[in-house]
């Protein structure tokens, strides 16, 4: 993929922003179990991060997907994975369907302020009884005149505590299975909406994760994103953005982690020499550098497919492969970084401890590794496993 001087400047802007506006607060936000989204997001909105590929009519930049790659790679360098995840929920998980399928009114009301960073968005798919198996969701929206009346529970919702609106997936008919679901924009200030719990997590601790309860929540039918009944299909397309951005971020994060580990091994001495002078350690890191580089270039191939307008099946397969490999590699890299740091790597004061915790999510969130394998196997023609 060809990165121009403009890409490099955009990269530098984001890098400077992270160094000055995010990383100095990382420890504090981790301790608090939440970062101030309504303070941080408007600043990011000014840089254009929330609307990279979106229509300028709503404040977007109208740029191509290559700039999303740059943004993702750089956000991997956040000293707290939780903030990167929260930002990517707004850019690539909760808003792509609204941009693609939403009505003008809905976009003016919810997408434009999200692009400016004035509104915080969340994606609400997972439920207590349905995660991997999205078709098993039970949250139900029943039509009453011009309104949906929504009842249900959503679980593990990133940004859920701070969100101004949700992109909610709900059942809107009794057809069952993949049919009869719709995506609905639900503002969080409506009656019947509540955050039942802010969840405590292994990692990504600066990001707020919520359990959300919806009791007779009323929103206009016009809040439906795209076609009524097409929610599942629209959400499956939206998942591809989610999986790709996760892979872009992971390569940035892993490259940085390996660089820092290499640096440490050059300084730390044992048995009369720097640790890096042990061929085993240097080769192991080199092997991982090679794997990350392969993934980076696979990411670029995915991005090119998107830019060239590849069909949905191609993109689904590529995004699933990228996300699968990123999740597995991230675990390996984080484990190796902590191992090669020794005791200090296990200490909370060293970046490796947080990275180790944060890294574990990628193989679960946004579709577990096994779900990626299931999709790939299905596309290979080996049936629905």
């Amino acid at each position: 993929m060809l990165f121009t001087d403009e890409h490099e400047m955009f990269r530098r802007t984001i890098r400077d922003f992270i160094d000055h506006e995010i990383n100095p607060h990382a420890d504090e936000w981790e301790r608090a179990g939440m970062f101030p989204a309504h303070e941080l997001f408007p600043k990011l909105g000014k840089l254009g991060v929330f609307g990279i590929e979106y229509d300028p009519a709503y404040g977007g930049l109208g740029a191509d997907h290559s700039y999303t790659v740059v943004y993702g790679e750089e956000f991997g360098r956040c000293a707290t994975g939780g903030v990167a995840m929260a930002v990517s929920v707004q850019t690539d998980m909760a808003t792509p369907a609204l941009h693609r399928f939403g009505s003008h009114e809905l976009k003016a009301r919810y997408l434009a302020p999200a692009i400016r960073g004035e509104m915080v968005a969340a994606i609400a798919v997972t439920e207590p009884d349905a995660g991997s198996d999205v078709a098993g969701i039970r949250t139900r929206a029943v039509r009453d005149g011009d309104e949906w009346v929504i009842n249900g529970t959503k679980l593990y919702i990133t940004n859920g505590v701070q969100a101004d609106w949700l992109c909610l997936l709900a059942r809107t008919s009794d057809e069952g299975g993949y049919r009869g679901m719709s995506q609905i924009v639900v503002p969080t200030d409506v009656e019947g909406f509540s955050v039942s719990r802010k969840l405590d997590k292994l990692g990504q601790r600066s990001s707020d994760t919520a359990e959300i309860s919806l009791v007779d929540v009323r929103v206009p039918i016009t809040n439906t994103i795209g076609e009524i009944g097409r929610g599942f299909q629209q959400q499956m397309a939206q998942f591809q953005n989610e999986r790709l951005i996760a892979s872009y971020m992971a390569t940035g994060q892993m490259a940085e982690a390996l660089r820092r580990t290499g640096e440490y091994l050059q300084q730390r001495r044992a048995f009369g020499k720097a640790l890096i002078e042990n061929q085993y350690l240097a080769f192991r890191l080199a092997e991982l550098v090679a794997e990350v580089d392969l993934l980076r270039h696979y990411n670029y191939a995915c991005a090119e497919a998107i830019i060239n307008g590849a069909d949905q099946l191609t993109i689904t397969k590529m995004a699933s492969i990228a996300k699968l490999k990123a999740g597995r590699l991230q675990r390996e890299v984080a484990d190796t970084c902590i191992q090669f740091h020794g005791g200090i790597g296990y200490m909370e004061e060293t970046w490796t401890a947080r990275y180790f915790r944060d890294s574990r999510l990628l193989s679960i969130g946004g579709g577990a590794d096994e779900i990626m394998l299931r999709i790939i196997a299905g596309l290979e023609g080996w049936g629905k496993l």
Binding site: E6, M9, F10, R12, T13, K46, G48, L61, Y67
Partner: protein, 260 residues
């Protein structure tokens, strides 16, 4: 109001730099970036032009190899155009040589009301170019500005001092050096970056400026770097245990250093 900002493009401080053993100067063959010290002047200029309700911010930079990366950053922040002076004959220029070149370039900017510089560059650090520039342009010089206001052809500057600040006024045009950290430089936004692509950068040689090569570069330098030494390693600090007399010990320590 039209403002000229002198900006230096320097090797990225995040990358390990090195000195040329022959000339004892910093190697500059790498990609250069906008000196962070200058980002404050650029921001100040943009704010002043905004407050004045219009006018252009023009950048002036002298750099090897027609390097424009740093200029593009300042253009992406919002400057309107740039003049870049690049010439093999400029290699080895000292502070005065640099000031001569910048002054000649600034003279080409029509209707410049105010010329802003940093107080010193982050790589060379002589801290003398702004004053030399003022002298060569025959303009008043105000240094170490922490706040600048312009009204009715007069610039009012809060000039940072060790004790606080002086209020200084002088007629325009003038050369004002801006202290680092006094404003928060904006991040170049994506829109700014894209707009910067098509902003004009006027690339000049010293012949274009009518400067004699013997006046600049190694040939014209009145300064020479005679030797370079490693900075001494930092010594370990002194630790005071507070047994009830901690405050007195600290006061005595500071008095000894003559800082209080």
């Amino acid at each position: 109001m039209n403002i000229v900002v002198c900006v230096k493009q320097i090797p990225d401080p995040a990358e390990p730099g090195s000195l040329d053993p022959g000339t004892k100067t910093l190697k500059r063959a790498t990609k250069l970036i906008l000196d962070e010290s200058d980002s404050y002047g650029v921001e100040m200029a943009l704010q002043l032009a905004d407050a004045a309700g219009g006018g252009e911010v023009t950048l002036v930079s002298m750099a090897p190899n027609n390097e424009v990366s740093g200029l593009r950053t300042a253009l992406a922040m919002g400057a309107a155009k740039a003049i870049l002076i690049s010439d093999p004959a400029l290699a080895g220029s000292d502070a005065l040589g640099t000031a001569k070149v910048l002054a000649a370039a600034i003279k080409r900017v029509e209707g410049a009301d105010l010329i802003l510089t940093a107080t010193e560059s982050s790589d060379g650090y002589t801290g003398t170019v702004p004053e030399q520039l003022a002298e060569l342009l025959d303009l008043p010089s105000v240094t170490f500005a922490k706040h600048i206001e312009v009204s009715d052809g007069v610039v009012k500057v809060q000039r940072q001092t060790e004790a606080g600040y002086d209020d200084v006024e002088c007629p325009l045009p003038a050369v004002v050096s801006v202290t680092a950290g006094v404003v928060e430089p904006r991040y170049p936004s994506f829109k700014g970056i894209m707009a910067a692509k098509s902003k004009p950068v006027d690339q000049l040689t010293i012949a274009d400026l009518g400067i004699d090569p013997s006046q600049v570069g190694w040939a014209g330098a009145g300064q020479e770097i005679v030797s370079v030494e490693q900075a001494p390693a930092r010594e370990s600090g002194e630790i005071f245990e507070d047994d009830g007399t901690g405050a007195e010990k600290i006061v005595a320590f500071l008095e000894n250093l003559k800082v209080i």
